[in-house]
Subunit: 147 residues, 2 copies
DNA sequence: CTGCGTGCAAATGGTTTGCACTACG
DNA sequence: CGTAGTGCAAACCATTTGCACGCAG
C-alpha cells in the first residue's frame, strides 16, 4: 500500500493523519505475516528511527478501534496485527508459527446456512472465525504462495 | 469431579500425583467458566492457602502438556483454562467476556466433509476450532444454563 | 533414597500509563 | 490556536525462572 492510499484510508475513518499512523499502517501491510508489535517497531524504525514503543501501541489500538487493522491472538499470549481486507479465517502453522489468512466464501456461505437453520440456544451470533491448525507442506523451491 | 477421579486421571498420564496437581485440576473443573490463572489461584487457596503462584502456573503447564487441560487464548492476552472433554468450539460473549463450550458433532461432520473435498493448498489440517463471537440473550430470571 | 515438585521471591517481557512537548487541522 | 497525538520512562501485571527444601514413588 502506497502512502497516498494509506493517508486516504486513515482520513476516511475520521482520524487525524500523522506520519506515525501512516507509517504503522503501511508497515503492517508490508509485513504480511501478521506481525507482532515488536516486528512492527523494528521495521518501522528503518524509516522512522525515533518513533516510540508507546506510540506504536497507541496507534495500533487506534487503528484496531477504527477497523483498519485487527488483533490476532496467539497461543503465546502476544498479539499480532492484520490489515483488515474482508472476512477471513486463519491458518496456524504448528511448525513455523506462521499465521496465514484464509478466505473462503463458499465455506462462509455453508456456515451461515448451517447456523441459520440450527440456532444456538440463547446466543446471537455476530461473527464466526475458523482457527485452522496444521502444517504447511513446504515445497523444495521457493516460498508459500499464501505466506 | 471428585478427588479419586482426579487422582486417577493424573496417574493415567504417568504424572506424579501431588496434592497441588489434584487441587488445580479439580479447581478448573469446578470453575466451569474457563478460569484465568488468577481465578484458579484465588479459589484454590480456599482449600490450599499456601499454594504458590509459580506452582499453579507450572502445574497448569504440566496438565496442558499432558492434555488434561487446554489453554484458551483471549483478546486481552491473558490465558484461560479449560478441562478437556472432547472436541469443542467456543462461544465468546462480547458483553460479558464469558467463554462457553460449544459441542456440535453435526457441525464437525460438515466441516470434515467440506475440507476433505476442498483441500487447502499446501496445508495439512490437523484441527479446526470455531471461534463464535456474539452475545448471550439473558433471560430475566436466573443464570445461563450454559454458563 | 533420589529426583521431581513446590514455595518463594526476584526477574522478565509485552503492554500501559502519565506527563510535558509537538504539530495536525 | 487548541486539542489530539507523540516521546519518554516509569509502572503494570501476567507469567517465568532459579534455587533450596520437601515429599512422591
Amino acid at each position: 500500500m502506497n502512502t497516498a492510499d494509506a493517508i486516504e484510508k486513515i482520513k476516511q475513518k475520521g482520524l487525524r493523519v500523522t506520519p506515525q499512523r501512516v507509517a504503522v499502517f503501511q508497515t503492517v501491510w508490508e509485513l504480511n505475516n501478521h506481525p507482532t508489535a515488536e516486528d512492527i517497531i523494528r521495521n518501522i524504525r528503518k524509516s522512522h528511527p525515533s518513533i516510540s514503543v508507546g506510540t506504536v501501541y497507541k496507534v495500533l489500538d487506534t487503528l484496531v478501534a477504527s477497523q483498519l487493522l485487527e488483533k490476532v491472538k496467539t497461543d503465546k499470549g502476544t498479539m499480532r496485527y492484520d490489515p483488515i481486507l474482508s472476512d477471513h479465517h486463519h491458518l496456524y502453522c504448528k511448525v513455523t508459527d506462521r499465521i496465514v489468512d484464509y478466505e473462503d466464501p463458499e465455506l462462509d456461505k455453508m456456515l451461515e446456512a448451517f447456523f441459520s437453520k440450527k440456532k444456538i440456544e440463547n446466543f446471537a451470533i455476530s461473527d464466526i472465525k475458523l482457527e485452522i491448525t496444521g502444517t504447511f507442506k513446504t515445497k523444495a523451491h521457493g516460498k508459500q504462495k499464501n505466506g
